[in-house]
Symmetry: C2
Subunit: 332 residues, 2 copies
């Protein structure tokens, strides 16, 4: 069995910031909102190096497909797309740092990584936060902390989340129990594409719910600690499944591999189902010659928007299913 | 698309004969029945060549697994197994000729082949019939023809049957219509393992129902002619499916191939389902590198009895499913 870190798909630390005396985006008129985009850009692009490493995308200048792709890559949120008349995002070449402007809050800064090192992500976010606050006057209350559009984010205004593959909990039908336990610790668990989305491919996001009354470092420590324990338990479930139903599990895993290697038509939902089982095959070392990174890239690259971008045209559903199957076959 | 003959798995011509003045097997006491076995052997083994080419298997000397294997290879009938206290069969090395003794009739002689040349099979059967009648006195009535235990066989006492793969008729839900049309022409259609058995793997047996009032040659000509037309229609259905739903069909065919190549557990029913789709892939030349004979051998060799014999022990169901999947993987 691979080390438990293999169950982590990506991590993210997000800070929300708002400018003093400026209405929140939902009450901000168009013109002023677009001026705010400009002001954030000016605070951000302070050097040639910054200009070379980052790009700004104004949502009102983008096509539907580009918006969808950015969403599927977790670079922008559904809310930012809803606000696309006034919103924008700044992104680095590696797509590890994204600064959303005029989302729910004026600024949503997120830093992403591929392991559980949440402190490193927070540090990186803090530096950008410091840079911005040199020129921007953030709304901050000595008692409440950072002021946010939604009171659930008040305080640290920090949300850290980790995307995990939890097939063991899912197959043994224990996600409900995890959800309850996390809620009691001020954390929450959701499906792959955020609130309300189903956990397709057994991929979940776990994040802190509490933002008020705790220091950032403590929140991150708790989250990491909890996830550490959760991953131990996930591995126990996987081990148990493989001991008690080794043949049935191997059968499921290999059938999924066979289907991915041979299908001529595949929906994104079915792709996630099989990719999850094959990923579990790699995690448990049932499959030894399959590259985990390729699976993870397929999990993202076979989503509808990615499919549209890859083929440069507005594909219909069936054409997407054809090309999705083709991409997957070419990888395996 | 391969020639329509590729849809034929095997053909068979069967003659029923009974000895004059001897009660039919269901009214024959054990001792006399076993003496009858001996008498048939004496009439049959008239030369050294015959002795070298054929073997006699007395059913009361065989184990359960051997009985089941012979059944799955269509060498013996369920009835012969039911009578195994008094029944026997003589078989050639190639397993193309089988002579069942004390089935429903005293003698059931069957000659098998792999194409539609029913006349050749009938000729071969006739020669053996002539040989036997030199020493055995067969019950024959000038008006009725050969006398048989069941009146439905009276007359020629000949049943010719052809085993066909008809996925096109099945997928377009037209087997009911075929069945009705055949009935009107004095023919019948059944599943792969005889009366009452389901058409698993889309494999059917078509045979003449009428035995009385027609010459053998005419019966065989009609059957062959009808099957010829049926196979043309089957190919039309396959062509239509592949034109209208080419991707969906290819997808189905390749998924079945992928499942056969990867599964770790497989029931005989599921194996037949996938083997049928892969066979259709070969018939329609969607799959070019798959050997039809290997598919056909798997259709037989993955049945429960064959599995038991291949592994020499009384496997339980799960062990059979494991080994079946293993055999199939080793072939593809």
């Amino acid at each position: 069995m691979l080390p438990k870190e293999s169950l982590v798909l990506r991590s993210r630390v997000r800070l929300a910031r708002n400018l003093k005396l400026v209405p929140f985006p939902h009450r901000l008129e168009s013109e002023r909102a677009r001026m705010l985009v400009k002001a954030v850009e000016e605070a951000f692009y302070v050097s040639k190096a910054m200009e070379e490493s980052y790009d700004t995308h104004r949502m009102w200048e983008l096509g539907r497909t580009e918006l969808l792709v950015a969403f599927e890559k977790h670079l922008v949120s559904a809310k930012l797309i809803n606000n696309s008349d006034i919103s924008a995002y700044i992104i680095d070449k590696d797509e590890d740092v994204s600064l959303m402007i005029n989302e729910e809050d004026h600024i949503r800064l997120q830093v992403m990584g591929r392991d559980l090192n949440l402190s490193a992500l927070y540090e990186k976010a803090s530096k950008i936060d410091d840079l911005l606050s040199e020129k921007l006057n953030f709304a901050f209350d000595y008692n409440l902390g950072y002021i946010t559009a939604c009171p659930t984010n008040l305080g640290t205004a920090m949300r850290a989340s980790v995307m995990l593959h939890l097939p063991g909990f899912t197959l043994t039908d224990r996600i409900g129990y995890v959800s309850q336990a996390l809620a009691q610790m001020g954390m929450t668990i959701r499906g792959i594409y955020g609130e309300g989305s189903q956990a397709e491919g057994n991929i979940y996001q776990i994040s802190n719910e509490v933002t008020l009354g705790m220091k950032e470092e403590d929140i991150l420590y708790n989250l990491r600690d909890t996830i550490d324990k959760l991953l131990d338990e996930e591995q126990d479930h996987q081990r148990k499944l493989l001991n008690e139903f080794s043949l049935e599990m191997e059968d499921k895993i290999y059938r999924s591999l066979g289907t991915l290697m041979n299908a001529r038509l595949m929906t994104s939902k079915e792709a996630l189902y099989h990719l999850s089982l094959v990923r579990m095959g790699v995690e448990t070392e049932v499959l030894k010659d399959v590259d985990m990174e390729l699976i993870d890239s397929l999990i993202i690259n076979t989503q509808p928007g990615m499919m549209k971008r890859a083929y440069g045209i507005e594909l219909n559903e069936k054409e997407r299913d054809i090309n999705r199957a083709k991409i997957i076959r070419s990888i395996f």
